[in-house]
């Protein structure tokens, strides 16, 4: 079935032989996932899906969805648009250039509070991936340890640090903040004692380089902000609901494949972007870390991208402390409810 779709897609798209080889290799996983989508009858609908960062295994499930034909199986021809430090996926969605984008509840929430008509329709990371990373020889295990230490972070995380501090009774003025961004070198060189970063980013680079490090997850200390959230506009929800449903189904199938075999997901990612110079070992470690952030008891019980009402209440409270005022209607779970009507696995 899957192999069939695959060659169909190859014919339709006129894909090169090399890509066919790659896809053939990964069709194995699809067979395991037992997907039963019907072959597309109509020509594929082209849509843009705006990712939140440069090409990375952070979107491994999406690459698998493409490689394993899940998007095509849903009748979509999906272009995965890369992000970067100088672009916001929210703007691409609001401007109607992308049907869906990946953002975080705080960024998308700010746009929503300013009047942008957007909604969250899926949450890939219920646990926020922000951490304080430190060297194991000089560890930061809880927020209180930050007092009197030097912290390297990007300046636009100031509010997040203040919030973590106030949630945990830490004097934020006792933390010496030094600008550092996308770069673990200041910590390794001893210019700072800690870094505010993503669990799956700089700490992995240090681990691969053989540097022992300790991470303290923000989510374990009250910082409840949904991350890697899937956002769409209200207009899209009203007029192109079926396309959004199809895209979400493709995503879910892709991420189920990723969960089943993170190693292959890393391999597919590295092969897909030969000009990025990615390191397979690093991407493989990350692929496994992302599974831990994206899958939990909640998703086991209700399906990938799901969130609980309790987590929405927590988010609203924490976002308010960040100066972002949103209400429950910022989250719309009706699409996932429809998709998972038959159970938490597609």
């Amino acid at each position: 079935m899957t192999a069939n779709q695959f060659s169909r897609r190859t014919f339709l798209g006129g894909t090169a032989a090399g890509a066919g080889l790659l896809l053939g290799g990964s069709s194995l996983i699809t067979a395991c996932s037992g997907s039963t989508e019907p072959p597309p009858a109509a020509p594929l609908t082209p849509v843009n899906f705006h990712l939140s960062w440069f090409d990375s295994v952070q979107f491994g499930g999406s690459y698998l969805a493409d490689a394993n034909g899940h998007y095509a199986g849903q009748g979509l021809d999906v272009t995965l648009v890369p992000g970067g430090p100088g672009v916001s996926p929210d703007t691409s969605v609001i401007a109607g250039q992308s049907i869906m984008g990946i953002s975080a509840a705080n960024f998308a929430g700010q746009a929503k509070a300013d009047g942008a008509p957007i909604k969250i329709v899926g949450v890939a990371m219920q646990r926020n991936p922000f951490v304080i990373a430190s060297l194991t020889s000089n560890p930061i295990n809880e927020p209180k340890d930050l007092e009197g230490r030097r912290l390297g972070m990007a300046f636009n995380n100031q509010l997040d640090l203040e919030l973590l501090s106030s949630l945990n009774g830490v004097d934020v003025n006792a933390i010496e903040v030094i600008q550092a961004d996308y770069d673990p070198a200041p910590l390794v060189n001893g210019e700072v004692d800690s870094l505010l970063c993503w669990l799956v980013d700089l700490p992995v680079a240090m681990t691969v380089a053989g540097i022992d490090n300790t991470t303290m997850l923000f989510a374990d200390f009250g910082y409840a902000v949904h991350s890697q959230t899937y956002i769409v506009t209200e207009d899209t929800l009203a007029n192109r609901r079926d396309d959004v449903l199809a895209l979400l189904r493709g995503e879910i199938l892709g991420w189920q494949d990723h969960k089943a075999d993170p190693d292959t997901s890393a391999q597919v990612t590295v092969d897909r972007f030969p000009d990025a110079g990615m390191d397979l070992e690093t991407e493989t470690v990350k692929a496994h870390e992302f599974v831990k952030l994206m899958f939990s008891d909640v998703t086991d019980a209700s399906g990938f991208l799901w969130w609980t009402d309790q987590s929405v209440a927590d988010n609203i409270r924490v976002l308010k402390a960040l100066g972002v005022n949103v209400t429950e209607d910022f989250w719309d779970r009706s699409l996932l409810e429809e998709i998972y009507a038959g159970g938490p696995v597609l």
Partner: protein, 540 residues
């Protein structure tokens, strides 16, 4: 400053005598300095900075390059291609505007104002707005790259057209032919040297635009590879990219200079820095109209931009919105304190770097003129360094200065230092031989030579460099604040953008652009007054 090589060879304006080193061929001297720098670099990287993830030794850089040469060359090719397209479109636009300004003189002020305003727009804030218009793909990097070159090429082309010899224009006129013929047969030819000097400066600028453009989302390119390498502790990779970017930018600079000399061998290349500012029209009313018309044109363009591209109200802020955000809405006082507080920091660090860069450049130019062997050894390096994109220099400066406020100052100083040095030095080498002869006959000391000959001859070049350095310094400062320090208006813009706060973003862009334009005109006014007083013949 492609003229440097020739003037250095013949330089009539040098003090006699001097060191034995003066007899060593320049090539040997600069090679010796280059080798010394490489050895010192290798030594530092292997000792003081060993294992620091900061400085890679040159040998490791070479090994890394050859190991992953396919990866590096593909990314280099991509960024270079983007920059080349931007270079082409930006320069075509600039030349078209310069032609229009020359043929229809009453348009000149308004076109000049719009082009200057575009040049003063902070790159890091307009990149995301461009992305909004163009959508995914390579259009945003190309557009940014084009915007980065328009102003300098426009100024250079305009200067070139204006430099047409009056006698030749008179001949055309005496045959009863019009402006168009004069333009075709005289001005176009006359513009070649100045135009190519402008294109030389445009080459590295286009590269910078392309790399910043990649930050708005792309699959490949040197900018993306840099960010990836920083996050992954791949120090060797960062240095390979820095070295490649330097070689390509310098190569472009030298190649265009060579092409200019090939096309126009009869005339020494000029620098854009030598552009005299136009005379203000006499009369208060005329002056006022001359000032207000361009401002009005800029506002018309602002509205037209929003309207033509149909930008959603959520993103699009008009001048009225910006005014309201700053002065009438309830959060206005808070907005003002954020924006002007940050602006204060930026202006303080930038002006310090600006002054240090200009004064240092003038002092170095004097040292070079008095100690010729030093000039021969170091000038080629200065010419090369001048063309390195700021995004590549920033990590190196962070290495030595850290990430404090001083980093912005250092980056701004470096950005204004090299062009000013090259311009001032070249001007000094053109000191009329007659003046030096007079001084020599009085047995004047070097100090007297400096005071009476070299300093005065370099003033026009210094002032012109100072004028062009206003917007480039602010550009450098905002990039530094973004990448290194997290302070000032650059940080406010990036924060506003990542938080989807378009009100603050537009207010910052408007305020910073106005400051840059005002700074430019203040220096231009000072330049005009000084030149009128010093040498009424120079300013037209």
């Amino acid at each position: 400053m492609s003229a440097t090589a020739e003037t250095a060879a013949t330089a009539p304006a040098r003090p006699a005598g001097g060191s034995r080193l003066d007899r060593v061929p320049p090539r040997v001297l600069s090679s010796a300095v280059g080798i010394a720098v490489l050895l010192l670099w290798e030594l530092l990287a292997r000792t003081v900075y060993a294992g620091s993830y900061r400085l890679s030794p040159p040998t490791a850089v070479v090994v890394e390059f050859f190991e992953f040469r396919g990866l590096y060359l593909r990314n280099l090719w991509h960024s270079t291609k983007t920059a080349a397209w931007g270079f082409l479109w930006g320069n075509l636009a600039a030349m078209a505007l310069a032609v229009a300004s020359t043929l229809v003189p009453w348009l000149r002020r308004s076109i000049g104002a719009v082009v200057l305003t575009v040049f003063c727009l902070p790159f890091i804030a307009i990149a995301p707005i461009l992305r909004l218009i163009t959508g995914p793909g390579n259009a945003t990097p190309i557009a940014l790259s084009a915007l980065a070159v328009v102003f300098t090429t426009y100024v250079a082309a305009l200067l070139g057209f204006d430099l047409a010899p009056g006698s030749a224009l008179d001949v055309v006129r005496s045959y009863g032919r019009g402006r168009l013929t004069a333009f075709r047969s005289v001005r176009v030819r006359a513009s070649v040297p100045a135009l190519f000097a402008g294109l030389q400066i445009a080459a590295p600028a286009a590269f910078l635009g392309a790399v910043v453009g990649e930050f708005t989302g792309a699959h490949r390119g040197l900018g993306i590879l840099t960010v990836r390498a920083l996050g992954a502790l791949q120090t060797d990779r960062i240095w390979v990219i820095a070295v490649m970017a330097t070689i390509v930018a310098t190569g472009g600079y030298l190649a265009i200079g060579a092409l200019g000399r090939y096309l126009c061998p009869w005339s020494p290349a000029l620098d854009v820095g030598a552009v005299p500012v136009p005379h203000a029209e006499p009369g208060l009313l005329n002056r006022l109209a001359g000032l207000l018309a361009p401002i009005a044109v800029v506002f018309v363009f602002w509205y037209a931009f929003l309207w033509v591209f149909g930008i959603e109200p959520f993103f699009a802020k008009t001048p009225v919105d910006v005014w309201a955000e700053l002065f009438s809405v309830s959060e206005a006082p808070e907005t003002r304190s954020i924006i002007f507080g940050a602006l204060g920091t930026t202006l303080w660090t930038t002006s310090l770097g600006y002054v240090v860069g200009l004064v240092g450049a003038l002092a170095s130019a004097l040292v070079f003129i008095l100690v010729p062997w030093l000039e021969r050894a170091l000038m080629p390096i200065a010419v090369a360094l001048r063309s390195i994109p700021i995004i590549v220099t920033t990590p190196v400066i962070i290495l030595f200065v850290g990430r404090g406020l001083l980093t912005t100052t250092a980056i701004v100083a470096v950005m204004s230092f090299f062009p000013t040095l090259v311009n001032c030095y070249t001007a000094m080498t053109r000191t009329p031989e007659g003046i030096l002869d007079v001084l020599r006959s009085y047995d004047a000391t070097s100090t007297a030579n400096v005071r009476n000959a070299y300093l005065p001859t370099s003033v026009p070049a210094l002032l012109a460099s100072a004028r062009i350095a206003v917007p480039t310094s602010l550009l450098g400062a905002t990039v530094a604040e973004w990448l290194a320090t997290g302070d000032g208006i650059g940080a406010v813009m990036v924060t506003a953008f990542t938080r989807n706060d378009f009100k603050i973003l537009w207010v910052s862009v408007a305020v910073l652009t106005i400051v840059a334009v005002i700074g430019y005109w203040l220096v231009a006014a000072f330049e005009l007054r000084t030149l009128e007083r010093m040498a009424p013949g120079i300013s037209r």
